[in-house]
């Protein structure tokens, strides 16, 4: 398995969900303690669904691809879906030889999204 699969290379070069929303209903950001990278995720909710989601931040190719794939998986889906996802769901899609030292890069976008939705749910 490649260190950086075509999936990662493609998402890193041509992210589909990178950007900012003008009036997000949910938003979150966190830092990867390994590298100080920051990932922000914003979402718009409608009828219990995550109608639209975008990510931003300066981060490595793995985090970028992970964020982009994650938002592809959850956009348009019931908001509760994000809570059911695990890093393993992302690993499967990334199709790369992710070393233990880079697992945080995979997991960070998911933690950020789940945190943002939880914050919204308890508001």
């Amino acid at each position: 398995m490649a260190l950086y699969s075509n999936v990662i290379r493609d998402r890193f070069r041509r992210p589909r969900f990178r950007g900012m929303l003008e009036r997000p209903d949910v938003a979150g950001e966190d830092v990867n303690p390994l590298c100080g990278d920051r990932v922000r995720i914003q979402g718009r909710l409608a009828d219990g669904r995550l109608a639209e989601a975008r990510w931003s931040g300066d981060c490595c190719a793995i985090s970028a691809a992970s964020a982009d794939l994650l938002l592809e998986m959850v956009q348009g889906q019931p908001a509760g879906l994000a809570g059911e996802l695990t890093p393993a769901s992302l690993l499967e899609r990334l199709d790369s030889d992710i070393r233990p030292s880079r697992m945080k890069c995979v997991a960070l976008p998911l933690t950020v999204l789940q945190g943002a939705l939880k914050k919204e749910a308890t508001r």
């Binding site: 260190l3 950086y4 290379r9 890193f12 390994l34 590298c35 100080g36 990278d37 300066d58 981060c59 490595c60 190719a61 793995i62 070393r99 880079r102 890069c105």
Partner: protein, 405 residues
Amino acid sequence: MSMGEKCRRDFPILSRIVNGHPLVYLDSAASSQKPVAVIEAVQRYYETNHANVHRSIHTLGEEATERYEGARDAVRAFIGARSREEIIFTRGTTDGINLVAQAVGRTLAPGDEIIVTEMEHHSNLIPWQMACRDHGTVLRAIPVVDEGYLDLDVFARLLSPRTKVVAVAHVSNVLGTINPVAQIAEQAHRVGALVLVDGAQSVPHLPVDVAALGVDFFAFSGHKMLGPTGIGVLYGRREVLERLEPAWGGGEMIKEVWIDHAQWNDLPWRFEPGTPPIAGAVGLHAAVEYLGKLGMSEVSAHEQALTAAAMEALAPIPGVTLYGPRNPQMKGAVLAFNVEGFHPHDGAALLDQHGIAVRAGHHCAQPLMKRLGIVGTLRASFSVHTTAAEIARLAEAVAALRSEL
């Protein structure tokens, strides 16, 4: 034959194949590899001499004490300290700085000031932040100018009778800048401040004479200078150590103990509670002998030539930015750089595929990264065993990076 080619044979790990390529180890600034002399010294010690030091009344205990105290004498000579009482064995640079921050911290009063620099490794920043939290002291920082030097005009203005401690790296672990610590110490002493120097990146690479530098404390690590992990050295000027209370208590650091009080041991043991890293000291002794035989002026010339070669090889590669002084004569054995569009961790992971080990990230210097406006850098660092051919391999792999992601 160059020093690098000659020394390579002494480092067993350098014969490793990593990801199908001969290992190019360019991460000595994080932790250096070990020559056979060090590995064997530690093994021989455990096989023949090991026991606890200082109070074991038997042959092995005496031998272990002799080896441990012998290491102290070797380190004293290596860094030009005047007396063995000034050499305190620690767990590493971080441990040594924390020791000073604790012990000196207790002498500070609210409103006193501590001066650090914007280029400090977290190990020479966080202990001082904690001292400020605990004692109401104020932290000030000498800024870094664009080319990676300290702004000494600002330093002169920051100094005042309130300044009690100036804590500065001898060589930046990112920029490689060799700071003028003798001059800084002289200025700091004029206002009565104590000066601590983080020597983690200088002792392994440059001739160091702590007495000539005129500093009060000088901390460094064994594992960055070809020695084992878990051993470090804190040099403390005798007159200063004598008036400080010990940082930590325990066995070995006392002369006599009653249930409610105790009398401290003499220097340097007063600052060495508990069983010390004896094998680490033995290994460090071997490392100091190894470096001593090479000669630190020769080591420094060899590594400076490599730094210059790396700068020359990397600078013309499209998208490459180098950080720190442009004059290699002003740099230690590290070179930080970035490749446009590449996160440092992706760069390091791809270089590793070529068997090239470099460091990537913020290098425990986040305030410096913020100052430079970047999340991190790649960093190649050099040692006695590094060769010009390895620098060429690095440059080749860096040039190819953009086609790989």
